[in-house]
């Protein structure tokens, strides 16, 4: 199981939880499991999120691996100027 | 439509074109003579990207009518190099990275060449004020000013 940290704004769609545990081997699976567990997260996840794995911000690649001890944070999808 | 026939000299070449009286010299250089080195950044004389010299006087070609070029001598960025020999300013601008995007560069080169012909030994402040009408959004002007000061010094030495 991987522990995923949600930013405060997402918690309203995850029964108020700030951390959610999911079974996942990569970033794509994290997002898939999250939506399965909390369908309310779907619009936000569909419209784009980044996933920080051990401090490295994964902006789009769903194949990036995650491990049980990984520190995982959902953050807003990155853009720049 | 009553077009005006204009005979002029551009970068030393005798040139003729037909223009609408409302068309600017910039329009004529770019659209009729295919000299696209001068750029339209504003069309209102505020940015200097269209700088050319008209009878050796630095002007914004967006604020000159094509018709006014009759009988005049025009110099654009395309005429700065002497054949395959770049002007010292052109060389130094590349060396100093005095450009990032390069859109303001033609205007700045034309303006600076005109300054150095008038004043071969300008102070940094004089250069900055001379170029106040040449906007650059990329560089913060630092490398431009350094390139110009260094070129001026080189050119003085060469004389």
């Amino acid at each position: 199981m991987v522990e995923v940290n949600l930013w405060s704004g997402l918690r309203q769609h995850a029964d108020g939880k700030d951390k959610v545990k999911v079974e996942a081997k990569n970033v794509g699976e994290i997002l898939k499991r999250l939506v399965e567990a909390y369908p309310g997260l779907k619009p936000q996840i569909d419209s784009g999120v980044s996933v920080a794995v051990d401090g490295r911000i994964i902006a789009s690649d769903l194949t990036e691996p995650v491990y049980q001890e990984s520190e995982v944070y959902l953050i807003q999808q990155l853009r720049g100027g | 439509m009553n077009k005006i026939h204009v005979s002029t000299t551009v970068n030393g070449d005798d040139t003729e074109f037909l223009c609408d009286p409302r068309e600017t010299l910039l329009d004529c250089l770019r659209d009729k003579l295919n000299l696209t080195g001068a750029k339209e950044g504003c069309g209102t004389g505020d940015c200097g990207a269209c700088s050319v010299t008209l009878d050796d006087r630095l002007v914004c070609s967006c604020l000159v009518l094509g018709a006014e070029a009759e009988g005049k001598k025009i110099q654009t960025v395309e005429g700065i190099a002497n054949g395959d020999q770049l002007h010292p300013l052109q060389k130094k601008f590349i060396e100093y990275a005095a450009l990032q995007c390069g859109i303001c560069t033609p205007g700045i080169l034309v303006a600076t060449k005109s300054l150095l012909e008038k004043n071969p030994n300008p102070t940094e402040t004089e250069v900055r004020y001379w170029l106040a009408g040449n906007l650059c959004r990329c560089t913060g002007y630092d490398k431009i000013i350094r390139a110009i000061m260094d070129t001026a010094a080189d050119m003085r030495e060469a004389h």
Binding site: - | G43, G45, L63, E68
Partner: protein, 287 residues
């Protein structure tokens, strides 16, 4: 649009007199071409006066006064060392307009005819008590610059009238002028406040004085109160403070994208003080 290049001011006046539709004279074009490009005005007739003999001449007349042709550019004025030495304030005022490129084209007469309350050269011309030569359908007349502005964008010239030259009085002894403007940047902006001062001294005593403010009234005007304060006095801090107060009091500005009423009133005083000091020093040869 029709484009004319007449060979005389009489001819220029005749074209304008007979013109149907919107008519503009073209000297430097730094206002007219901007208006054209931004679709503010689309003239039907454009009369280019630059090719008229004398239009590009600066001439010092026998009595020491100056005749500046209507198409003389700011750059040509700045390069004229004698004119600049005698009327530094006026030349600097013209030189402050726009960039080096604009200076290669812009003219005193254009600045005046554009009718902007914020025109830089006009307070300086007015302070110098300059006049213009007007060629019209009924002949030539001399008109004081002071009588030119009517309202923002409007002058007292009538249809068919064209200015052929600006006349600047002889400098004479112990005179000095100055022009300062406030802008947010160091260059390129329209004056938020402008102030021209011209005065004459006898020793330390001021004998003649005219101060004009720009961008703080619908038309550029002489502040006669300042003349009263200065004439007959030495310039000290008390007088300077009074000048500042009078300039602020004469300011009836508006709030717009370039400044607020409060700001313009305040800065009119500051510039009046600073410009008066410069003109005073110049009059006394102190620079």
């Amino acid at each position: 649009m029709e484009y004319y290049t007449p060979e005389s001011f009489n001819k220029a006046s005749e074209i304008a007199t007979n013109a149907q539709g919107i008519t503009r004279f073209l000297a430097g074009g730094t206002d007219v071409l901007v208006q054209l490009r931004t679709d503010m005005i689309s003239p039907d007739i454009l009369i280019d006066i630059k090719n008229i003999p004398g239009a590009k001449e600066i001439e010092c007349l026998a009595d020491g006064s100056w005749r500046i042709g209507a198409a003389v550019t700011g750059a040509e004025m700045s390069e004229h060392s004698e004119l600049k030495a005698q009327w530094p304030g006026l030349v600097e005022a013209m030189d402050l307009i726009g960039s080096t490129q604009i200076q290669g084209r812009a003219t005193l007469v254009g600045n005046l005819c554009n009718g902007s309350p914020a025109a830089d050269s006009v307070p300086a011309m007015m302070a110098a008590n300059a006049s213009v030569l007007v060629v019209g359908p009924n002949g030539t007349r001399e008109l004081s610059v002071q009588d030119m502005p009517v309202s923002p964008g409007k002058t007292s010239l009538s249809k068919g009238e064209v200015i052929s030259a600006v006349l600047i009085p002889a400098r004479g002894n112990n005179g000095g002028d100055a022009y300062l403007r406030f802008i947010p940047r160091t260059e390129m902006d329209i004056a938020v406040v402008g102030c021209g001062v011209n005065l004459r001294t006898d020793g330390e005593i001021i004998t003649e004085a005219r101060l004009c403010l720009g961008a703080v009234t619908p038309t550029i005007q002489v502040v006669s109160e300042v003349t009263k304060l200065l004439v007959g006095n030495k310039l000290d801090q008390t007088i300077l403070d009074a000048v500042a107060k009078a300039a602020s009091a004469a300011s009836k500005p508006i709030t717009d994208k370039r400044g607020t009423i409060e700001y313009r009133i305040e800065v009119a005083g500051v510039l009046a003080k600073r410009a008066t000091k410069i003109a005073y020093d110049r009059a006394r040869g102190l620079k």
